[in-house]
Symmetry: C2
């Protein structure tokens, strides 16, 4: 592992892409980034990252504003964009995908890998999750607030050599990285929190984690949404721990009250991951003939908020 | 009936109270009003009402800012306030209730009569609904936009002589007034519309009737909420017409898009009738052991929006 210097392209160099790209560069990888809104700043100055792990500047090897301008043969393309219907990932990354490129989807949600798997049946698809609190306050300026853990697994299951090598790179720069031989289970587990708290923070009227848990009807709603996710995970052969619901509620009660990333997106009139977080879960339920009225209620209401958020 | 000049006290002289009070005065009744925020204006100038039925000024016989200042023996007290936990109707109207006073609750929601029935077991309780579009644009200035139909019945059921006399007064000034011998059934029927559309207009992100019906998930949500109301009505021995759901959706699609009164209240940081419209329905469902996940979702979310609407 020492001396492993893979070529890595980060697609979606917002806060998550910049932070983890920077960490990989610190670990010795050749890291390039595709930037959009922050292209000019990053091209000139790189990313400036403030973090409890130490502040630092990250200058990617190549900074391109269009993936077609990228010149390389990446060992990994790490996709860190939001999962939105209007972002056609397979089509956009196509010019940079080479036969040996592993495509890493470091994104939120459930059942999000299908389109990439279908478009690149011969490439290795690594699916991953980030448990981290990051914001890009201004173009190229990232603040790392808290956490940082990653989880990766081969999609749909197992762990490959390259999954292991990627994890080792992160670990070498003190990022906790879990290798998961059942990454879908890990996704369902994360959804237990994301499915209620992200949407309710928006449709509950723009409220923080504490406010979501300060009334009996809303705690009941959150618990019922979690139960439905638990049942769907089971139907997807991903049994979760019986205590996952209460431990998520307890942990959230203990957090310093904060606004979810979905609420921040909503307040900034940005598109929310309605389909990745709720729509895909609801469609999976329909396919399996499982009734999920609470998830469906949140889905319909979040969909309306997203559509009419001008 | 001609020459019937009852003494009537309107408690809650906002738009609804002013409009129907004015109509009763036109019909010959002695109408007095309890006013709060609009007291000084109304005391001096009366209510000014703009209506497709003709503009007019309504000067109540007595205008008081506190019911204890009312001097009379009313045949009817007509309560037209919102139904809110913080408004203790029995306690407030007590000083004006005489042995022969009929208490008329012209208010929204379901299962709202309990406290008044309990506090005044010997008085006649008339329950009523207004199907009307009214706004009080500034203090004492009411605009009547559309509709105007009323429905009254004795609570819990039947029709009394005084219910009939009240209806006849309204009819004499061209207000359509339905006598209902099962007013609870009429309340459930109105709730089929109110339970989804009022809350979703708020929780859906501040949207109008058309926007609530322009996506598949939201139409499914609205239909499912209506189905639950239908089932609750049945459990309350109030069978509704099988077509009530589709006819409500069709009628709403045909309306000029408009913001619900609940959304206007929310936008003006006023308290919403969370309990009267949803909370009481949910509690009735719990009592009957009927699962109403869609109503419960809306209830929890509307509750949060109301609580955190500053």
């Amino acid at each position: 592992m020492a001396g492993y210097k893979p070529e890595i392209l980060i697609f979606g160099a917002g806060a998550i892409g910049a932070f983890y790209g920077a960490k990989l560069a610190q670990a010795g990888a050749d890291v390039s980034t595709v930037c959009r809104s922050n292209f000019i700043n990053v091209k000139e100055n790189g990313f400036s990252i403030k973090s409890p792990l130490g502040d630092f500047i990250f200058k990617p090897k190549q900074v391109v504003n269009n993936i077609e301008n990228y010149n390389g043969d990446p060992d990994y393309i790490i996709v860190t964009t939001k999962v939105l219907p209007e972002i056609n990932i397979p089509k956009i990354i196509l010019p940079a995908v080479k036969p040996d490129t592993s495509i890493v989807l470091l994104q939120n949600g459930i059942k999000i890998e299908g389109p990439v798997l279908k478009a690149f049946p011969k490439n290795e698809i690594i699916s991953g999750l980030a448990f981290v609190c990051l914001t890009q306050l201004s173009s190229g300026h990232i603040t790392h607030h808290d956490y940082g853990k990653l989880a990766f697994g081969l999609f749909p299951e197992g762990v490959s050599t390259k999954t292991r090598l990627l994890c080792d790179l992160f670990r070498s720069v003190n990022i906790t990285c879990e290798l998961s031989d059942n990454i879908e289970r890990t996704r369902w587990k994360k959804l237990v929190w994301n499915a209620p708290f992200n949407p309710v923070s928006v449709i509950g009227g723009g409220i923080n984690t504490k406010q979501m848990l300060d009334s009996e009807p809303s705690v009941e709603l959150i618990r019922n949404v979690m139960k439905e996710v638990f049942i769907l995970a089971e139907a997807d052969n991903c049994n979760l721990n019986d205590k996952v619901i209460e431990s998520n509620i307890d942990a959230t009660l203990k957090m310093t009250p904060y606004k979810t990333s979905m609420l921040l997106d909503y307040e900034n009139s940005k598109k929310m991951e309605v389909e990745a977080i709720l729509g895909n879960a609801v469609r999976f339920a329909d396919k399996k003939n499982i009734r999920v009225p609470y998830l469906k209620s949140l889905y319909a209401l979040l969909y309306l908020n997203d559509k009419h958020n001008l």
